[in-house]
């Protein structure tokens, strides 16, 4: 049985992620304690809100270093995924840097509605166990104004004006820009896949 720890980085969706895991039969603990986080089999960094306060909150508790050094599977959700990259344009914030790339605001184009809010299709870019059972064109629920471009670590992309990273993975670090906890059965499948890593 997975021993999952949710890191409280101030995101309001932490409860929703916890409930989604409960629906999969996993009781996840919430913790900000480095010892407890290091001892977990799987670590999830949920997040809703802005990059700068999110990183500040991690740094305040020394959790930025703790997360960088983790060797077990780590999943960043929404803002949590953005924090895995090197830098975010939001508040000009240095992030964790465990996945190469930068996070930028969607183009300020009159025809492009921002936040990107709603159900959008996943386009599968690379084979990975994290995407097992997920099919080309499956839908996920997104709510965000910033995104990372596609790149070598992108397993699945989505499109809003231009393609952006929807699922990333570098070694043990995984990220989902959408909300798996709110993406119906596709989201449940992705969380299950993460727990099987």
């Amino acid at each position: 049985m997975a021993d999952v720890v949710l890191i409280d980085a101030g995101g309001t969706n932490i409860g929703s992620v916890q409930y989604a895991l409960q629906r999969l039969g996993v009781d996840a603990a919430m913790s900000g304690d480095p010892m407890r986080i290091r001892a977990a089999s799987h670590v999830i960094l949920p997040g809703v809100g802005a990059a700068a306060p999110g990183m500040a909150r991690l740094r305040m508790n020394g959790l930025d270093r703790v997360v960088r050094e983790l060797e077990q599977p780590v999943l960043g959700v929404c803002l949590g995924m953005q924090l895995l990259f090197e830098h975010s344009e939001e508040g000009d914030t240095a992030c964790l840097g465990v996945v190469p790339g930068v996070v930028r605001h969607f183009p300020r184009d009159a025809d492009l509605r921002v936040p990107h809010m709603g159900w959008n299709r996943l386009h599968l870019e690379r084979d990975d166990v994290l995407l097992r059972g997920v099919e080309e064109g499956d839908f996920a629920y997104f709510v965000h104004s910033y995104a990372a471009a596609t790149g070598p670590h992108v397993l699945a992309s989505s499109e809003h004006g231009s393609p952006f990273a929807a699922v990333v993975r570098k070694n043990n670090f995984c990220g989902m820009q959408f909300h798996p906890e709110r993406s119906a059965d596709v989201g449940a499948r992705l969380l299950e896949n993460f727990l099987s890593l």
Binding site: I14, V114, V143, S183
Partner: protein, 261 residues
């Protein structure tokens, strides 16, 4: 491509879902969790729970049912009604709601929108606007529309308020066109299209859905991002899988409904 959303709105009173016409004469429809799951299974993209008594009576949204919904529901949901402060919003968001919607309290104190967007991010902040066309042809905002005896017209121009709400940090606007609400004669395409022109955040149409063609019209002609409706879904007049199939046939991008096997 981002799909257009279908959002059933569930009016909640005393922990149960109720329905009424033109905000009056409410009858109990059933349990919140049961109805939420039924709409999820039918392919609803999102749900809005509106505590219809909370705002006029100054009551707070009861957190218990929000958490019960969040535990079982795996699609996003928004809670409206009775959110007057960052503290109120925090309670609802931490209980598992994805967004909060503010209406009358934001008119009383517009700074509320700024405070909510700073505290939680614009993506959590929905501003609901009740709007009605006055005899001079201008659309103006109504306040306390949850209670017909307290509803009052404001001098505030709807378009001005839509602009201001966005500047203050609204991440989504729900425009409830009161002239068409509850009469099932179609959405107010003219008003929604006008608001769409000045709205850079997602715009949700509300008020007037009575037939499938009304949804097709509002997406194609007013360009809204989502359509909210209550009675046509609650009464079973429109089944969401059928609605989505017809929208897709008419070229409106929608999430294929129903559960994947």
């Amino acid at each position: 491509m981002l799909t257009r959303r279908i959002i059933p709105c569930l009016d909640v009173r005393d922990g149960q879902v109720v329905k009424g016409v033109r905000f009056r004469d409410h009858v109990v429809m059933g349990g919140i969790v049961e109805l939420a799951l039924r709409y999820r299974d039918a392919g609803a993209d999102e749900l809005v729970f509106y505590d219809i008594t909370a705002s006029p009576e100054g009551r707070r949204v009861d957190r218990d049912w929000v958490e019960r919904v969040a535990r079982v529901l795996d699609i996003p949901f928004c809670v409206a009604g009775g959110i007057r402060s960052v503290g109120d919003a925090r309670e609802v968001l931490y209980a598992g709601a994805d967004k909060v919607s503010v209406n009358s309290p934001a008119l009383e104190r517009p700074d509320l929108i700024d405070e909510l967007s700073v505290a939680f991010g614009v993506q959590c902040v929905v501003v609901g606007i009740d709007s009605l066309r006055d005899e001079d042809g201008c659309w103006r905002v109504r306040q306390y529309s949850g209670d017909p005896d307290r509803t009052r017209a404001l001098p505030r121009d709807t378009l001005d308020w839509v602009r201001e709400a966005q500047q203050r940090g609204a991440g989504e606007i729900v425009l409830n066109c009161m002239g068409s609400d509850g009469v099932r004669d179609g959405y107010d395409i003219e008003q929604l299209a006008r608001v769409r022109e000045i709205c850079s955040v997602p715009l949700v149409a509300s008020g007037g859905a009575g037939a499938v063609r009304h949804f097709v019209e509002v997406f194609r002609e007013a360009g809204v991002d989502a359509a909210l409706a209550a009675s046509v879904f609650h009464a079973g007049d429109i089944a969401i899988p059928d609605l989505k199939r017809q929208l897709a046939e008419q070229g409106v991008p929608v999430r294929e409904s129903g559960r994947r096997g």
